[in-house]
């Protein structure tokens, strides 16, 4: 269970990006976080695994407080939090298998990491996860030779290799074409239920959020202004989140394949 209480993040002296967020995610639910660019979605996700240092507040994962962890303890906590990135963040010049095994870096020792001598169980797990998402035959290909969708699958498998207790996905589909992004969303949805894993997804595409997730959280200017079922996410909620001024990326009409161009999702 992930529990966020009164989370505040402020960069320097400027206005806070997150102004006291509360969020509770239980079980294997898939939660999407929507909001305009700059609403604080990405900052919130990065506060959870402390890639961004929260200013104040509390974040608990299965009872462990994450906010004041340091050094080795922080790294041990991060092992339990998988993350999938908008830009995939793969190790481009390494093979797919090395990328996937890199998810185990928090577990193996430095000698094993350098010589790539991972335990047999890790390799088994890597192969079965890669087969699950259909990239096993690329194991010895360099990561930068893959297409966008395949690269994001590598990113997902790498995060799952950590045996995470929660999965964070920061705009996982924003760099992909509409069809591929549908596939990745479907994959995340089914993996969540197969592995009974809670998943938090930052997403611009409201239609996809409604189709593939069980709960939508809307952020605006660092505050949560919507938290509910996709069915309850109506025109008013959409206007409130995007301010009615900024054009949302997607209309509410159910058209998964419509106008989710990559170009409009440039910034996170």
């Amino acid at each position: 269970m992930l529990e966020i209480n009164n989370l505040v993040k402020r960069y320097g002296q400027s206005e806070a990006v997150l102004k006291g967020l509360d969020l509770k995610v239980e079980g294997n639910s898939v939660v999407s976080i929507v909001g305009a660019s700059g609403a604080g979605k990405s900052t919130m996700l990065r506060c959870i695994n402390r890639l961004v240092e929260p200013t104040s507040g509390s974040i608990k994962l299965n009872g462990t407080e994450l906010v004041n962890l340091k050094g080795a303890e922080l790294r041990r906590a991060r092992r339990k939090i998988g993350m999938v990135f908008q830009g995939f963040n793969l190790l481009d010049r390494l093979t797919v298998m090395e990328n996937v095994l890199a998810g185990r870096l928090g577990y193996v020792n430095l000698y094993q990491a350098i010589t790539r001598r991972y335990p047999q169980t890790d390799i088994e797990r890597a192969f079965s996860l890669m087969e699950r998402v259909g990239i096993a035959h690329y194991a010895n290909k360099r990561a930068d030779e893959l297409s966008g969708g395949e690269r994001q699958r590598v990113g997902v498998v790498r995060a799952l290799m950590q045996e995470p207790e929660v999965l964070l996905a920061d705009e996982p589909t924003a760099s992909l074409d509409p069809r591929t992004s549908e596939q990745i969303m479907m994959l995340l949805q089914s993996l969540a239920s197969e592995l009974s894993l809670p998943v938090l997804i930052n997403i611009h595409n409201v239609a996809q959020a409604k189709t593939y997730t069980e709960r939508i959280v809307g952020l605006r200017h660092g505050k949560m202004i919507f938290d509910g079922l996709p069915a309850d996410f109506n025109k008013e909620a959409l206007d409130a989140i995007y301010g009615g001024i900024e054009a949302p990326d997607e209309t509410v009409s159910e058209q998964p394949y419509s106008s989710a161009e990559v170009a409009r999702h440039d910034s996170a």
Binding site: N49, R78, A113, R158
Partner: protein, 269 residues
């Protein structure tokens, strides 16, 4: 119609506007003054200048034809020169990489290390190889060790600076991903930084080896080993045909070095 004719007459074509022209003339004038000062003030006996072409061509005449005697010696000296350059480049790698690591802003452990790293790079780069050689000859006596150390100390700055820049230019994203997976600093370096700087590393080392071949040809002039020793000896004994042979040998060495580097570049990169 009259107005139009007037306009046409006013259209004087000028290449630059007034301000640009003033700046240009100013710079030109300043340069000219500096040059005039340099020419008038420099400690040169001008009749020698007018005589210089004669002197140079007479020296050239004394060198011709190159003497084939002592080719064996020259070949051994060339080999020694290559050894100095190669061993020194090899040793430099181990010294320059840690310096690059602490001198790169994104990997340095703390500010003190950053400044220490930068200090090492700057002092290494600002002192020319031959001045380093002078120092090491004074310490360790004439010989190849002084030469190797001179090349090493100069190359640390070169390789260290360029590698530091390569580290600073890496894509941050894989680093972020590795940190998010709970990897320690050492593992982040091995997985997210080393693969990214590998191509730059090979390119820089190959480039420096090429430069070091050239540099090690002069070490001998201050007694630090290599082909320069016999060049100095030949000049001191006025054996000009031998000097010519040595010069040709140096050109050959440098061209071979360049050929090898471009071959390595196309193979490795």
């Amino acid at each position: 119609m009259v107005d139009h004719a007037q306009q046409l007459a006013d259209r004087i074509w000028q290449r630059y506007d007034r301000k640009t022209r003033l700046i240009r003339y100013g710079i030109l004038l300043a340069t000219l003054m500096v040059v005039v000062w340099a020419v008038r003030d420099i400690d040169i006996f001008w009749p020698w200048v007018w005589d210089a072409p004669n002197q140079i061509s007479s020296l050239g005449a004394r060198m011709w034809p190159p003497s084939p005697a002592g080719l064996n010696n020259i070949f051994n000296a060339l080999l020694e020169t290559v050894h100095i350059a190669t061993l020194a480049t090899f040793l430099t790698i181990f010294l320059a990489l840690p310096v690059a690591y602490i001198a790169a802003q994104n990997t340095t452990p703390n500010r003190a290390c950053l400044w220490l790293g930068r200090f090492i790079l700057v002092s290494s780069r600002s002192v020319n190889t031959i001045i380093w050689a002078l120092l090491f000859v004074a310490i360790f006596g004439p010989g190849v060790l002084a030469g190797i150390l001179a090349i090493v100390f100069r190359s640390i700055g070169f390789i260290g600076k360029l590698m530091g820049e390569a580290i600073e230019e890496i894509d941050r994203k894989p680093v972020e991903a590795m940190e998010a997976s709970g990897a320690s600093k050492a593992k982040v370096i091995v997985y997210a930084i080393v693969p990214q700087v590998m191509p730059a590393f090979f390119a820089i080392v190959i480039l420096r080896w090429d430069i070091n071949i050239r540099e090690s040809t002069v070490l001998g002039l201050v007694g630090a080993g290599g082909i320069g020793v016999i060049l100095q000896g030949a000049i001191d004994t006025f054996a000009w045909p031998t000097v010519a042979t040595i010069l040709i040998a140096i050109i050959a060495l440098v061209l071979v070095g360049e050929a090898i580097t471009s071959l390595l570049r196309s193979k490795v990169l």
